[in-house]
Subunit: 487 residues, 2 copies
Amino acid sequence: MFIDRNNCFSACILPIFLSYVGLILSSFYSEVSRSEVELFPPGLEKKSVEHAISLRDQALKKSDAFALVESLTTEIGPRLAGTGAEARAREWAVRHLSEIGFDSVVIEPFKIKAWVRGRESAVLTKPSEQGLAVTALGGSVSTSEVGLEAELVVFQSLADLESVADDSLVGKIVYVGHAMRPTQDGSSYGAFVPLRRLGASVAAAKGAIGIVIRSIGTDYHRSPNTGQLNYVKGVRKIPAGALSNPDADQIERLWEKKIPMRMRLVLMSHTREAAESGNVIAEIQGRESPWELVVIGAHLDSWDLGTGAIDDGAGVGITMAAAKLILDAGKRPRRTIRLVLWGAEEQGIHGGKAYLERHRTELRNHMLASESDFGAGLIWQITSKVSDEGQPVIDLMGTLLNPLGIVQGGKDIAVSGPDLYPMINAGLPSFSFRQDGTRYFDVHHTANDTLDKIDSKALDQNVAAYAVFAWLAAETTVNFWSMNEPN
Amino acid sequence: MFIDRNNCFSACILPIFLSYVGLILSSFYSEVSRSEVELFPPGLEKKSVEHAISLRDQALKKSDAFALVESLTTEIGPRLAGTGAEARAREWAVRHLSEIGFDSVVIEPFKIKAWVRGRESAVLTKPSEQGLAVTALGGSVSTSEVGLEAELVVFQSLADLESVADDSLVGKIVYVGHAMRPTQDGSSYGAFVPLRRLGASVAAAKGAIGIVIRSIGTDYHRSPNTGQLNYVKGVRKIPAGALSNPDADQIERLWEKKIPMRMRLVLMSHTREAAESGNVIAEIQGRESPWELVVIGAHLDSWDLGTGAIDDGAGVGITMAAAKLILDAGKRPRRTIRLVLWGAEEQGIHGGKAYLERHRTELRNHMLASESDFGAGLIWQITSKVSDEGQPVIDLMGTLLNPLGIVQGGKDIAVSGPDLYPMINAGLPSFSFRQDGTRYFDVHHTANDTLDKIDSKALDQNVAAYAVFAWLAAETTVNFWSMNEPN
């Protein structure tokens, strides 16, 4: 299992190789593209397409993305929503965005219920006292200082837990495993994350007093994976934590040997009502239709265990560097490019919801948006769902980005970053750059989410893609909304 | 750095590949070796050499090593010296060794001063509050509950720290880095371990009130590396810890940016005088010269952070399985094979010292010894220093093990396991199987030292080597001591 789950080839070597292949191909492409840009789609001039190519090539040479992630994760570190650290991250963003030279930089504050981790430990007291690596799930209610101690009952899946009789787990602590595997598109995360979200309420409904789950992650280190849970209304709230994969294995081996187990579980936390969070918004004003908006961005908050490097310092660096590249090139697009650094994503997409709340009246002015929130791996696919009129512009993005190893995928669906869900649910056309997530869940939401996991060349490929996206979507005159209603 | 330090090819793929190559070659060798065994060296009969080949091939098919490591690390878990967990490990060993069918199994108890870890944390309070992954070095004096808080001063090496003026660090906490790199023979560990052993006393001599060092390890995870320190007599004892490599990077980046830092450091621990430890000793009685001894073994204790899988559960499994193979084959060697599972190695080679103390009068009866204490990687080299008379037997081991990817190295030196140092310093001929240690220091002495890091095929190669070693050294009549004095 060590080998299977820690294969660095796909995580490190392959992306770098692809990145260099992309670089070589792209220099070649710059030569041949002069003829192809004659075929520009409606709403774009030849020189606009040439500028997109120039931005792309500039990013591939070197962008500021890595330096920005380094600065954010080193000088601020972890940025838990609603804390002083997240506030310092907003100040950091305002300072850097102002220095970069955006036309406007503002903070839009909002209030959240903020959850803060306390002391935590899990100890097997039977069969032989041994400490386990545990962390509370975000939003978990607190145990007392002393914690819980009870028999540990093992289930291999959420379905197994659901299948037992009501009241069959009275007074017990429950362990639940799962079969998540690394996948390029991260789909195995989606398949098993319901265990993290709902496990506590399912266990409580059967009478359990606490739950520990196998980390929703694919690494083999003693760094458990946190993430938000959702208590089901009307069901008793019980403390919930995650064990690292090696610790989960330990529990399952003892269970297979039919050795009875007891666990002492301390998961302390507290919640602050009306804590301050906020979105940071910076704009490059459009030259012709400044009220029309193209949004790129990432979330500024992170979980507390690591320094939020891949989640989502990488996205912050990628989108800030892409906007900076457009600014530095000195050409203003037709439409406004709005960079949004959302707050408090991790604890419930608070920033995305607050943004829609405040900007609902100008929703139809939002032409297209993309959030970078899937780590620091290479982009391999574009998916989108836009108007027929807008499709040729997306196709052009695909053509220009193909030498970077990016292919076009589905045109009737796009799963964008979480902070865009509220707007997309309200009708915003959707667009997504899909990144290689094979090893994303090795470090996502763990203490290992630190700067050393990021390859700067892979970030530059992302910056190239975001610069091309933002420039072309803001430069074209086409409408990406399917129904052309007045704003 | 992530890529450089986490290359799984050498850690996972290469050893397995070599292991399979070894398997294929060895089946071939079994055919051709019939002629070669005619050339057996003095003191060995043809059938004894054939039996060694048979033991080797049996081990390569499948040994009990992995099952034993699994049982020890799962059912007992961490085994800190002088604790109840180490006592349970001795009981575990006695139970399993008796079941295997050794002629005798005894515990030889001894007392140690036992160090036990308490609560620990390191927080940068300036420039921006962030928690760091820290662990106390073994033997560190305790801070108070509140801990220390002071300015953090950065040095890049022990030499840098040594070079500053006396009293220049009064009231400061000191950070010291180093440049350890992964090496096949682990030599980079030896080069930098003086920082762990002596850093606290060097810093204290300059007036520092605490020290944190970069982990003496090569991984890129938030799991700091513990290990024993040595306070220099007459120098004030200050608390000492290690930061994980990503945290050490964080400190060094802030220092390079010339950003002042303050640290709050809690490293609690306590020491128990006259705690009980012990060596577990099991024998296969020799058929002709039972008073002559060949020793194999490993240490039973571990640090407390992981479950002691590669350090040294692997060695316990390898040597127990090798002895079991010899027992199961039903042929008794001329000399006695003594399996020793040493106690309390990590905190000062207490088991090795106690063993020599108790067995000093029979030291000259010890013909040859080998301890397995360098993880679970493949053996790649034999080194030894034995009599001219004994050398042909070592050469024969080399010939029989060559198809397993094992070559013969130096014949005038051997660095054996630590528990053998006392006997080797007292004159015992030395022998060493050197294992691939390229990735050993990724997990050694960290929370990540867990079962999932072990490949069972690599363990089987080790078992084959130990079985051949123990059988031939116990079967031959030659004396490995250079001077043939009477016992």
